[in-house]
């Protein structure tokens, strides 16, 4: 995958990679359709569904009433009937209205009905951040879905994975919760024009290093890469791992990295309690338990709802500086007063990674 990515000389934004993945699958399979509030309006979900209506028509690209519960049931029923719906929520927070259908029907149907039906469904949603989006437009709720057997959860951090996991999710015969991040939409990466799959359940080492493993989830993978640059100045070599899929989780790739580094820092775009970071920490502890003591630290949202004012929002999230400082302290506990050069930190914070991933 990394090679393929490297070999593409076309740079594409995350939002366009999402759209291209859906468009190619819709062209290949007439059963694929896209629906959800505003998928067919002039803004086209920040551009991620742009042009699909014109190409595929209103039977395959249509807006819905604000009825997340029933629309999720409709998607599940259509999927059981052999169609391949992509149900879009412009913010992840609205998925709370879809929980009954996703948890009680979608996740369980294949099992509860003894394999008689399949639910090939993709549920797209976007996590927001900044611009004062606040408590109900910024939540990373992926761990709620990770808890439920029968669901898959994927959270691509870059354009290459956005396209490859979108195609994999559409082809998957199970409900896949597809977690996007608003701030990633205009980040670019080399993305091949042809159709390709990034296999669900496989993670990737994005930067190699020796001293500490940093696992970054969704947008926090980008922040972890920025932290990794900052840490280079302090001669701390961080290995950055992107799990890409949160369930099923590629714990092997994470543990192989820890074998080398001996330390684990998990940075999630969500709360830590009962979260993806807790799951990763537990699995790592079980894997190494009794053999090797692995220092583990988790970072995520402050344990509060998300505030709107930038003054408070800035301290709500982990950022490259706080991640770098935490990693540095884990590697050099004797020197926990280390602070990155402010100028360098600012530059890092602004740097846009363009891959390859």
């Amino acid at each position: 995958m990394q090679n393929k990515s490297t070999h593409s000389d076309r740079s594409l934004a995350y939002v366009d990679a999402l759209r291209e993945g859906m468009e190619q699958e819709m062209a290949d399979d007439p059963q694929v359709f896209v629906f959800g509030l505003d998928v067919d309006d002039h803004k086209a979900i920040q551009g991620s569904t742009k042009g699909l209506l014109e190409r595929f028509g209103p039977e395959r690209v249509f807006g819905t009433p604000l009825s997340e519960d029933a629309m999720t049931g409709v998607a599940i029923g259509a999927a059981m009937a052999g169609m391949r719906p992509i149900h879009v929520h412009i913010r992840m927070d609205f998925m709370m209205l879809a929980m009954n259908q996703l948890v009680n029907i979608g996740a369980k149907a294949h099992y509860m009905y003894g394999g008689q039906v399949k639910v090939p469904l993709v549920v797209r949603s976007m996590i927001g951040k900044s611009w004062g989006q606040g408590a109900q437009h910024s939540q990373g709720l992926h761990s709620l879905f990770m808890h439920i057997p029968g669901l898959k959860v994927v959270a691509p951090s870059n354009a290459y994975d956005a396209k490859g996991t979108m195609i994999a999710a559409i082809r998957d015969n199970n409900p896949v919760i597809f977690v996007e991040h608003r701030l990633l939409y205009y980040t670019e990466a080399p993305v091949p024009e042809e159709s390709y799959v990034v296999e669900l359940g496989k993670g990737r080492v994005c930067r190699e290093g020796d001293d500490i493993t940093i696992v970054g989830i969704s947008n926090m993978l980008m922040e972890a890469l920025r932290a990794q640059e900052i840490l280079q100045d302090a001669k701390v070599s961080a290995e950055v791992v992107d799990p890409i899929t949160l369930h099923p989780m590629d714990i092997d790739t994470i543990c192989e990295s820890i074998e080398k580094t001996g330390r684990l820092l998990i940075v999630d775009n969500a709360w830590t309690r009962c979260g993806a970071s807790a799951e990763i920490a537990a699995q790592v502890a079980e894997r190494f338990g009794g053999q090797r003591a692995i220092p583990i630290k988790r970072m995520g949202f402050a344990d509060t709802p998300c505030p709107t004012t930038p003054a408070l929002e800035d301290v709500f999230y982990a950022n490259p500086v706080t991640i770098a400082k935490a990693a540095h302290t884990m590697v050099h506990p004797e020197d926990d007063g280390w602070t990155p050069n402010p100028e360098k930190a600012t530059l890092s914070y602004q740097s846009q990674f363009k891959g390859p991933f």
Binding site: Y111, G150, N174
Partner: protein, 321 residues
């Protein structure tokens, strides 16, 4: 008002057979239940069979039904496999879901019976999703979505009515209104009882049928389904009925105080099984009854003789390939 429509002789035979068949299957389930061989809660339709029988009678094999956890009647009326149903109630590997469904999640996709659900109302939008796919296929097929009166209080009910009407989906919503949500009567749950008026505002025909008259239900279902096959949109039937047994389990519950046995007596008067049976000659009726008994005996034996699933089945079917 019992309809004066006189069914043809073949219609009478078919309707009686299905009514009697469902009644007897459930009476046998109730008989077996105290033995603890049935490994599942059961929500019996005894007394309510006429709705499933009347509404499914116009269906072709390519049409679908969906139903709630009180779904034995719909399953059987649509032609669901009785052996697989009984084995499923027994928790056996030859059950329709290999013992993972029980009574509340029956399914028979080869016979177009969608999976049932214990969470009230959840099957309603799923049925609309099937209806969307039927509309896209444009082969004139329809789905009948059964629900109880409690389900009409769920948000997804109104949401689904709106979406189905907006998209002119070929779906017949059938409310089996037995007046009780577990033990709470609709008078404690509904500000008004004008359910059909509520539904009609979504832009679909909505008709209430009193007395559980199987012929009236069949006539209304046929009319609306014929319309849908020709591109018409959804319709709604509210069928008054009465649950003779307890909410869940094989017995009666008239001594518990929340309802009066006199309510039952009025509905026994209107029972459609003897009504249709009375339209047949004794010989005809006895022949049908004997055939039904032998079918049920065979299905029970099938369930008894089937084995429990291997423990390695625990992990099977969590994810589809």
């Amino acid at each position: 008002m019992i309809t004066k429509t006189v069914p043809s002789a073949t219609d009478t035979v078919r309707l009686y057979r299905t009514l009697r068949y469902i009644r007897r299957v459930e009476e046998e389930i109730a008989r077996i239940y105290p033995s603890d061989k049935i490994k599942s809660p059961v929500h019996l339709s005894i007394g309510q069979e006429a709705i499933a029988v009347g509404a499914c009678d116009p269906l072709m094999s390519e049409d679908f039904v969906s139903a709630s956890y009180r779904g034995h009647a719909a399953y059987l009326a649509k032609g669901g496999d009785l052996k697989k149903m009984m084995a499923e109630l027994y928790g056996k590997k030859d059950g329709c879901a290999g013992g993972k469904a029980g009574s509340m999640h029956l399914i028979d996709m080869p016979n177009n019976v969608l999976g049932m659900s214990a969470v009230v109302g959840t099957t309603i939008p799923v049925a609309a999703g099937f209806a969307l796919s039927l509309k896209r296929k444009a082969e004139g097929n329809v789905i009948v979505a059964f629900m109880g009166d409690g389900a009409t209080e769920e948000g997804c009910f109104g949401e689904t009515l709106n979406f189905s009407s907006l998209h002119k989906l070929p779906i017949l919503f059938v409310c089996e209104n037995n007046d009780y949500a577990i033990h709470t009567p609709s008078s404690k749950r509904w500000a008004t009882d004008r359910l059909c008026e509520r539904v009609a505002t979504y832009g679909m025909p909505a008709v209430r049928i009193e007395d559980g008259d199987v012929l009236a239900i069949r006539e209304a279902a046929t009319r609306h389904i014929d319309n849908m096959r020709n591109g018409g949109g959804p319709a709604f039937l509210e069928c008054a009925t009465y649950r003779w047994r307890e909410h869940v389990g094989p017995g009666e519950d008239y001594e518990s105080g929340y309802r009066d046995r006199n309510e039952l007596a009025a509905w026994i008067e209107k029972d459609q099984v003897p009504r249709l049976g009375g339209m047949l000659s004794t010989d005809e009726r006895e022949a049908i009854d004997a055939e039904i008994e032998s079918t049920i005996t065979e299905a029970i034996a099938f369930a008894e003789n089937s084995h429990f699933p291997d423990t390695n089945q625990l992990m099977a079917h969590v994810y589809a390939e």
